[in-house]
Symmetry: C2
Subunit: 198 residues, 2 copies
């Protein structure tokens, strides 16, 4: 097998979810693609990898020292929504319903994977609260075991600020979900937290 | 959203089978990867795209003008196995059972996709046969409508060489396949082509 092809395939198959067969298919696709377009792609990847910054306020990915969300003075800076990762922030932004700020933890506490609270941007969050002006912290963290651990850890840390309102995003049956396929824990929670129809 | 991230995601999502969500996941993975490793990956891709050649004899991908298979004088150069694409050649090579040469067509005849016989390396195959020394041509082409069209087209062209043995790879039930899940055409074919147990 060609050394050049072998190298390209072995590099591509280092990507998560991409096996050798998919990597080979990708390589064949690249061969049919204009070489300038391939160069544009690899340059965009390297630019992203070397030039991207983390927002010094909220830890969001940013081209600048402070991200456009933190920099936007039309947003409500008294509310901080805490998320695990940038992708979660983007999902919330896509709803166009939330006008507060964010705080990106950069993961969840996971003793199994060796991720301690100090590996996450929790102190950075506490610092923001210490600076004053924050009225509400919304915890939008996943319901996995690691997520719940992280949630309780942060809730514990926030007990020192009794004026602060700490909320959790609502859990329940998603719109369009069929009850038949929803897990028991979610149904139990949705039943217990039922609301009177007004 | 960060321009750098947006560019990387939009470039990655141009790859086949990679949507925006997967592209974002890949970008996040790259961010956790050492930047030198990312550079190594992109360099391998560009090297592959710009430096790879097609073997001047069999159209296999090659680092050199003639591929190592065509260049290997321990192989039987009287037999040519015709395949659609390089991936098929690699699958056959992986069996380590075939010691002849190959001919990579570079696709199949597809009027729907505007691929005519002249877009494939069929003339190149005829030229090889014209040069003499070829005793058998094995057609290892897929059984799709386009594959069968290609098969018949090549078989017709090879009628001009009555001394040439033209064979087709055997179709039947794959090892490990459960009869219950095999399509009717394959079962019909496997029944009609049943062999006496020796």
């Amino acid at each position: 097998m060609s050394r050049l092809l072998q190298d390209a395939v072995s590099e591509l198959s280092k990507l998560p979810g991409i096996g050798r067969r998919t990597a080979l298919r990708l390589a064949m696709h690249l061969l049919r693609t204009d070489s300038q377009a391939v160069l544009d792609m690899t340059e965009a990847i390297n630019r992203f990898r070397t030039q991207i910054k983390h927002c010094s306020k909220c830890n969001n990915l940013s081209d600048t020292d402070v991200c456009p969300i933190c920099d936007d003075n039309t947003r409500d800076n008294s509310t901080i929504c805490v998320v695990e990762q940038v992708a979660d922030l983007m999902s919330i932004e896509n709803t166009r319903q939330y006008r507060g700020l964010y705080h990106v933890l950069g993961g969840v506490i996971s003793p199994m994977q060796g991720i301690a609270p100090s590996d996450l941007k929790i102190e950075m969050l506490i610092d923001r609260i210490e600076q004053g002006g924050v009225k509400e912290v919304i915890l939008a963290i996943s319901t996995s075991v690691e997520g719940e651990t992280t949630l309780f850890y942060i809730m514990n840390r926030l007990r020192n600020y009794p004026q602060l309102k700490v909320t959790n995003i609502a859990r329940g049956i998603g719109f369009g979900d069929e009850l038949e396929y929803v897990d028991e824990l979610t149904i139990t929670h949705a039943l217990m937290n039922r609301r009177e129809i007004e």
